[in-house]
């Protein structure tokens, strides 16, 4: 543990982290090149000021309501409940947001912040393209030029989203270094940022990166959990027994979990991507198969080899194909406040089809992973149980890929 923080300056509630150094326990921090350090400090100050400003809050709320379509409903997935034969399965419908995923909750906050800071150019990294589309959308709405870095592999498997970003006026830069996936896109975005420090705002899409990003993205995404918590109380008069969400970097899960952290009776369950199986080595399960390390500005669990080199992640889902995880998840994992499990590519494919057929909801491949563990949990909890899963994205973007995998020519 670095420079021990004295007992009285450390948060005493699990939901009150990070501390002043941007640490969640030993995780998080600000591991960036010196060129970026002044920017990170400036961003932290600007965010703290904005957060306390009622005008910023009011502007956010207005756009969340009229532009994003908040609040998103909760929905009783009756036929899946019947199919699984146990606990009630409820979805938080964040796939109904404008642009089709939870990502826009965060993009809106960061782009409004960028405007307050007088930044005139937006950059972002994207995996599945959902964060790229959401960023390009909000950038278009405010007339700010936007460049999105996307791994070349992902550009290929997420073609519909690439075209959407282009329609929205964004420049999409395919990244060929490494395996051409999310981590390489993030490297390239950091390289662009270090070069264009004076006018550029980097909209990070997940609860990772240097402080203040993990806390800031969590705060913007916590609308998921705040709404769902109030909705469950109103509809059912009680909180769910478990909140379940898929995890790549972990922004939708953190957004769902955070308002429930102090509700100790509510289990928080994150589902990582097991790819072809954690035991095969071809997976993206950083907590199950990784060790603590330092990458992309923060200390967290990483897939790495014996020399500390980063191992490429493997997942059918471009949005989960990342060798790290947000530092707050690493912390909740070590503190045993949240449980982390995984689901394979095959399970996600199965759930994608099952949910579509039974509920008439085409889920993104990302939350289809979460659904696989909801199935087990429903049986475990039994009829009296209530499960709340975040349906964080819709699956339209995955239709071409799923068709290909099923051997269907479109």
């Amino acid at each position: 543990m670095s420079e021990p923080v004295s007992a009285d300056t450390r948060p005493n509630a699990l939901s009150a982290w990070p501390d002043a150094r941007g640490r969640f326990g030993d995780y998080g921090g600000r591991f960036v090149a010196e060129t970026l350090m002044p920017l990170i400090l400036e961003l932290e100050e600007a965010y703290e000021t904005a957060k306390a400003d009622p005008d910023f809050r009011a502007e956010m709320d207005l756009f969340l309501k009229d532009y994003v379509g908040k609040p998103s409903p909760i929905y009783f997935a009756e036929r899946l409940t019947e199919e699984f034969g146990g606990a009630q399965v409820w979805f938080k419908r964040d796939e109904l947001n404008h642009t089709g995923s939870h990502k826009i909750n965060n993009c809106l906050g960061q782009v409004l912040l960028a405007r307050r800071m007088g930044k005139t150019r937006i950059i972002a990294e994207t995996g599945a393209g959902q964060h790229g589309v959401a960023t390009a959308t909000v950038a278009a709405r405010f007339g700010i030029p936007c460049t999105v870095f996307m791994g070349a592999t992902d550009v290929e498997r997420q073609a519909p989203n690439v075209f959407r970003m282009k329609l929205l006026g964004a420049q999409v830069v395919p990244v060929t270094s490494g395996t051409g996936t999310l981590k390489d896109a993030m490297n390239e975005a950091l390289r662009d940022w270090v070069t264009n420090v004076h006018d550029t705002f980097y909209v990070i899409g997940t609860v990772a990166g240097p402080h203040p990003y993990p806390a800031m993205v969590r705060d913007f995404q916590s609308i998921i959990g705040r709404e769902a918590r109030a909705q469950m109380k109103e509809r059912l008069g009680r909180l769910p027994d478990a909140c379940v969400a898929c995890i790549g970097g972990g922004s939708n899960a953190m957004g769902l979990f955070h308002p429930f952290i102090e509700d100790e009776d509510v289990r928080l369950i994150g589902v990582e991507a097991a790819g072809e199986g954690v035991e095969t080595g071809k997976h993206a399960a950083s907590l199950k198969g990784g060790k603590p390390g330092i990458l992309h500005g923060n200390k967290t669990y990483l897939l790495q080899d014996d020399d500390g080199q980063i191992i490429d992640a493997h997942s059918i889902s471009a949005g989960l194909d990342y060798p790290g995880i947000g530092p707050e998840h690493a912390f909740l994992h070590d503190m045993k406040r949240a449980e982390y499990v995984s689901a394979t590519d095959a399970e996600a494919m199965e759930m994608f089809q099952l949910c579509t057929r039974l509920e008439g909801i085409i889920p993104a491949l990302e939350p289809a992973h979460a659904l696989a563990r909801v199935r087990d949990l429903a049986k475990e909890l039994g009829k009296d149980g209530i499960i709340l899963m975040n349906m964080c994205g819709r699956g339209d973007k995955d239709v071409p890929q799923v068709a290909r995998m099923l051997g269907v020519e479109l």
């Binding site: 010196e34 060129t35 350090m37 981590k183 200390k299 014996d306 500390g308």
Partner: protein, 262 residues
């Protein structure tokens, strides 16, 4: 504390000569041969790159070099072994390791510092560990008398510069431009002013790098800076022309730097 870095910069200063710092990547090509040949080619200080899969602050040349080195099986331990082999027959030329935090963190800050000291390493530049995060690393390096060399950049204002130069030793690395390694360097006049500012704040020699490629450009910087660092160009020369090609470039660059103040 007398060490090779202090001794080397004192010598250069006594001759009113700027130093030439050559960067090379451990494990890319016959790197041991190049490492051994660098002092005779005119390198006053050697920066030995520790390859990493995700070099966020590096441009295409050093990224590609790191991936080639890893592909060829280079590791942090292997890098230290090359430094140790060099140190057996060169007792004077300082070696500074340059790279990223994760492989070092994975080995353990203290285990790394101990192994590096044993290999005859004199300093470390860890790109993604800023002053706010380097307490553990600094303590470990201090225990084994290895200099922690920090980076100052065009975005480092006076207030921050005080934080950057506190606890640094050996020299300060001034990054001449906002950007990745191998991109264009800053205007020479601006670099001169910045070097003077960093020298005043730190009381240490200042080496300037990022984007220096040509002998004339290196010489212009050498008129004000205590040393000039070239990396991407050497890495490219090594890849294209092997040890002989890299050696040849180092000779041209070092001659220009050494003659700059005559």
């Amino acid at each position: 504390m007398t060490n090779r870095l202090n001794t080397r910069f004192s010598e250069l200063s006594a001759y009113n000569r700027a130093g030439f710092v050559a960067y090379m990547m451990a494990g890319d090509g016959d790197s041991q041969a190049l490492l051994n040949a660098l002092p005779a080619a005119g390198a006053d200080v050697i920066e030995l790159g520790m390859p990493f899969t995700d070099p966020m602050a590096d441009g295409p040349a050093i990224q590609a070099s790191a991936l080639r080195a890893l592909e060829a099986g280079m590791t942090l331990k292997g890098t230290l072994a090359q430094a140790a082999a060099f140190r057996k027959h060169d007792k004077d030329t300082p070696i500074v390791l340059m790279g990223y935090a994760n492989p070092i963190h994975h080995m353990g800050w203290e285990a790394f510092a101990k192994a590096a000291a044993k290999a005859g390493v004199d300093g470390l530049i860890c790109v993604d560990v800023p002053p706010e995060e380097d307490d553990e690393l600094r303590a470990a390096l201090g225990k084994y008398s290895i200099a922690l060399i920090r980076l100052a950049t065009p975005t480092t204002d006076d207030k921050r510069l005080a934080t950057v130069v506190a606890n640094t030793s050996g020299f300060v690395y001034y990054v001449s431009t906002t950007g990745v390694t191998g991109a264009g360097s800053g205007a020479v006049t601006e670099v001169g002013e910045a070097v003077a500012r960093v020298q005043r704040a730190s009381g240490l020699p200042v080496a300037v790098g990022f984007g220096v490629k040509e002998p004339e450009q290196a010489a212009a910087i050498a008129r004000t800076a205590d040393a000039v660092v070239v990396g991407s160009a050497i890495v490219d020369a090594m890849h294209a022309g092997g040890v002989a090609g890299a050696q040849e470039l180092v000779k041209r660059l070092s001659s220009a730097v050494h003659a700059a103040r005559r």
